[in-house]
């Protein structure tokens, strides 16, 4: 079949940013997958609660301190995260480097607090179904903090390497900030479920 | 081949022996269900035939217009819309019919005769509750019910999920560990109705049958009275020797025979095993020969079941089989 050129693409940018980027949509799709997983874990928690004669099963409600500080910290981390996203969009290498270092630290801090959250549940995973589901939920969310932290650390290294100053890298940083927003956003219903539902 | 599946099914149904078939109902719930089954199958068969005729005509119809006209497209659109509307109406009708049948199947009344069935890998433990003066009793793999009365089955499980299903009397209901399910069982005429575990439950899911014996109320009362009694000392010398062997060998560690020292609880209660129609959950008829075959080598007949092969001399084997047979 013959061709006839009817459209010239020469002037298009050689990398799309934001919604014009393939990886942005990929990140969104993975967020949808993991968000479904988080939602289902909450459903399982509420399902088990609906069957139990009393809730929590054979344990005091969790201590609020560690979890609440972590929640506050996660919410606070959104501020530098939003700035980082803005700097990535404007492709400001120096600010992006600083922002990534800050976000790496803000990725590690919740992990330290998380260590105190597990004992604050006053129950272990192998004691009963209540213990099992709270450990599964905390574990699920910890995995997400951890994977995002590793990604942030790798990106930080990348931005200090010769590959750093490139629109594609800024796009990756931007997607990473979007994913961190997701990690924070999914924690809020989990926090409410884990810490406040047992007190109802 | 499938043009008249309803006809075919009813033809097959009329020819079958009928002791375990949804198409040979003898209890109110199963009868309601059979009406629903035949109705839905008939309607669906008609729908299938209509669609197939349309398919045949669409594929093979004669000369076609050279080009699609707007008029024929509009006519097609209207036909499709009408067909979808018909689908909606039929679906709604079937849903309503299904609701009504569900209601007709009914729930057991609280004062109905209650029998507890406990699923075990791979047999059925059956408890008849006692009343004030009369003690309850336990049996296995066989339920007797009086005809013409609602019977409330309480379904529980000792290990994994099983499913109680006697198709000629009612639909099925699962026995779920940690839960207690109920179902209504009712037979309209005397007979033996076979059922079988319907939820996959491990190695011997295939050999987990249960017999429901429906009998006239007087017969039922006579049966219940005899089941309440302890086992009696057998008169036959072989059987008496078998009794001794039974108690001396590992048999007594797992089985109970009321009236003897045997009080194991992991296997079926054998107090009146000789009166049951089958042994080993419907595996064979209760005869001295089948009992001997079963005791001699349970792992060949029902591989993986929890009854071990107990080393016995042939005399011991004969005597124990005779004793089992005598436990009427």
């Amino acid at each position: 079949m013959k061709d006839s050129a009817t459209l010239d693409l020469t002037d298009l940018p050689s990398h799309g940013l934001g919604t014009a980027s393939v990886s942005w949509w990929g990140t969104l799709a993975f967020m949808l997958i993991e968000g479904t997983g988080f939602a289902l874990s909450i459903v399982v928690y509420l399902y088990l609660m609906s069957l139990a004669p009393h809730w929590p099963l054979d344990a005091a409600p969790p201590d609020l301190l560690a979890g609440t500080i972590l929640t506050a910290l996660l919410i606070a981390s959104l501020v530098p995260n939003i700035f980082l996203a803005r700097w990535a969009r404007s492709q400001d290498l120096l600010k992006v480097r600083i922002g990534l270092i800050v976000m790496s630290l803000l990725g590690m801090a919740p992990l330290i607090l998380r260590v105190f959250e597990f004992p604050a549940m006053h129950i272990k995973w192998d004691q009963n179904a209540y213990g099992s589901i709270v450990w599964v939920m905390l574990g699920l969310h910890t995995t997400h903090i951890l994977t995002d932290l590793v990604e942030t650390l790798v990106l930080t290294c990348l931005m200090f390497s010769r590959h750093g100053d490139n629109a594609r890298r800024y796009g990756d940083v931007s997607d990473n900030t979007m994913y961190w927003n997701f990690v924070v956003a999914t924690w809020l219903p989990m926090y409410a479920c884990l810490y406040w539902v047992p007190r109802l | 081949m499938r043009v008249a599946s309803a006809l075919l099914i009813s033809a097959v149904a009329s020819g079958c022996s009928g002791n375990q078939s949804a198409l040979d109902p003898h209890g109110a719930p199963a009868i309601h269900m059979e009406h629903l089954i035949i109705g839905i199958v008939a309607i669906c068969t008609v729908i299938w035939v209509v669609v197939m005729v349309m398919l045949g005509v669409a594929l093979l119809r004669g000369p076609r217009a050279a080009a699609d006209t707007a008029k024929s497209e509009a006519w097609l659109a209207m036909t499709v819309v009408a067909a979808v509307a018909a689908t909606v109406i039929i679906i709604a009708g079937l849903t309503i019919a299904s609701f009504y049948t569900t209601r007709d199947i009914g729930v057991p009344k609280s004062d109905a005769l209650t029998i507890t069935v406990r699923g075990q890998q791979w047999w059925w433990q059956v408890f008849y509750a006692g009343a004030d003066a009369t003690p309850g009793f336990q049996t296995a793999n066989e339920i007797h019910i009086p005809i013409g009365t609602d019977v409330h089955l309480r379904l529980e499980s000792a290990d994994v999920i099983h499913s109680f299903w006697v198709p000629s009397l009612a639909g099925k209901q699962d026995l779920v560990p940690g839960r207690s399910n109920s179902m209504l069982l009712r037979a309209e005429k005397p007979g033996v109705y076979r059922g079988q575990c319907a939820e996959f439950c491990g190695l011997q899911h295939s050999h987990m049958a249960i017999m429901v014996v429906a009998e006239a109320p007087a017969d039922y009362d006579r049966w219940a009275a005899s089941q309440r009694g302890d086992a009696t000392m057998p008169a036959d010398p072989d059987a008496a020797a078998g009794r001794g062997a039974f108690l001396a060998k590992p048999c007594a560690a797992c089985h109970t025979i009321r009236g003897t020292a045997a009080n194991g609880t992991t296997g079926p209660d054998l107090t009146h095993i000789g009166s049951r129609l089958t042994i080993a959950a419907g595996l064979a008829e209760t005869t001295r020969g089948s009992l001997a075959a079963w005791i001699a080598d349970p792992q060949t007949l029902k591989p993986g079941n929890n009854m071990p092969m107990v080393p016995l001399t042939s005399a011991e084997l004969q005597n124990i089989s005779a004793y089992m047979e005598s436990l009427k």
Binding site: G16, W135, N166 | M33, M54, D174, C197
Partner: protein, 636 residues
Amino acid sequence: MTGRDSTDSRDTGFNDGELDHRLASVWSTPPGLWGALSSVDHKIIGRRYISTAFVFLALGGLLALLMRLQLAQPEARFIGPDRYNQIFTVHGTNMMFLFAVPVMQAMAVYLVPLMVGTRNIAFPRLNAFSYWMYLAGGLLLWIAFVLDTGPDIGWFAYVPLSGPQYAAGKRADIWAQMITFTEVSALAVAVEIVVTVFKQRAPGMSLDRIPLFVWSMLVTSFLVILAMPAIMIASTSLILDRLVETHLFNPAEGGDVLLWQHLFWFFGHPEVYIIFLPAVGMVSTIVATFTRRPVFGYLAMVMALIATGVLAFGLWVHHMFVAGLPRLGESFFTASSMAIAVPAGLQIFCWLATMWAGKPIFKTPFLFVIGFMVTFVVGGLTGVMVASVPFDTQVHDTYFVVAHFHYVLVGGAVFPLLGAIYYWFPKLTGRMMSETVGRWVFGLIFAGFNLTFFPMHILGLRGMPRRVYTYQPEMPWSALNLFISLSASILALGFLLFFIDVIRSARSGAAASSNPWGASTLEWATSSPPPPYNFARLPVIGSLEALSDQSTALPVATGLRVDRRELLVSSVVEAIPEARESSAGDSIWPLWAALATTATLIWSIFTPWAVVWGSIPVAIALIGWFWPKGVPEDES
């Protein structure tokens, strides 16, 4: 960075021969083993995926024959209960997780980029990774089976039978972890397809110009994305219960055994539509081509696809009608299960209308579509039957249900798939399959299938439960079972002939032109098989029927670079060009990542610490995967 490139790296400056040469040099997979292992070409991976899935189909079919051999006579001693339970578990698991879902996704991996007019799938390395994960999961299951440690708990793995107390050894863990493998690969492919369809369509291919097959794969991919997390939570919980003593399914400690069934069927019912919807897309494509007209009611078809996808999540409880849930709740699920017949019916009527208005050409692919119509309508109607609670309590877990879902899955999905293989074989291999043999294949499979599975309806109504390794001679089932087993050999013969035809045609079939069927979708606008870059110049789409007017030249877009793998990103709704985007080059890292993940997942059924230590090589492999190598594809 726009405009920095010199014009001689653009496709505008070359004649056709020189352009092909340049594009081939950038897009080709290098020869040899290393090239094969590091390839990210969606066509190579797609073919690999399809071939592997058909190998699993053949193996699963052999298991089915073993079961039929055992069931041909009452109380047969050919296979014992322990082995039989493994056989039916592996048959079901294999057919669902290793054949049906992957093969549909594999067809999409091959076809969707071609049909939307792009040069490679989105995230090509993820695509390579997903194939390796799929292969590893399949090998795990099959090697375990051959080792006599295959799962023996049914493909549904109900607790407590699959739980720590009643499933000794690692059999159930192998099942659960195999699910993780196929889940990871299915989710990855779903993401690739969604993004490819959303962002990589040819300019002008607005939402209302997407081919129906692509629509069906888009809806399917969303079903995968929303349904698979449920089985992910379920299988992980099962492993946790078995390995580290959590109590999620233990009723004595506040867990619940029905929780498993809810989670499993919340995934398991959409799973049926994950398999069926792609088949709908295939049927629509084949019907359009072989009736010489577009499918009647494009918009209605798309709406039916979406409606089916939405309703699929509202009817999982109809698998649990006998579990003892409240009757009122069950009635709701009767209504919702019945309701899905409406979009299904709409699609059937639209195809009938298309056939009515078109001029049918009875080639093999179309024969399979006719076979699909005949059998799928049976399966759909028996589906309406089992949606009714009282009907279902009689036939649940009997051979009636075995017949029902084989009519839906084989009649509804495998027939269209076989038609699709005959239809797209020229595009897959550059050769035609034999029309004569094709008719025999269709005849044998159609007759064999119906003779095998139709009598099972009757067996079920006459009281024969599923998943029994034998039945007793006094039950009135022997004659029909023998008949079924004999009929199964006809079905097997049909499949054997199919496989022979595929292998023979792939080696020495007649060469195919670029558009042998005179079809109108974009994959036929390029050669058979397509070059590594799919399209020398990206097509520009002006109507739903991209190639309907064969006389005029195909409008194309120019201006892409030829010194790196470059494709076009366009907007979601209107497909307006937004950016030129690089597409990842070949890489061995997806294979390393898959191997590291495989080691971690298998190790983790023995000790939970595997997750901790195994994550280190996985992380290294992923960093190697994403770290820029200084090639043009890595820079903007």
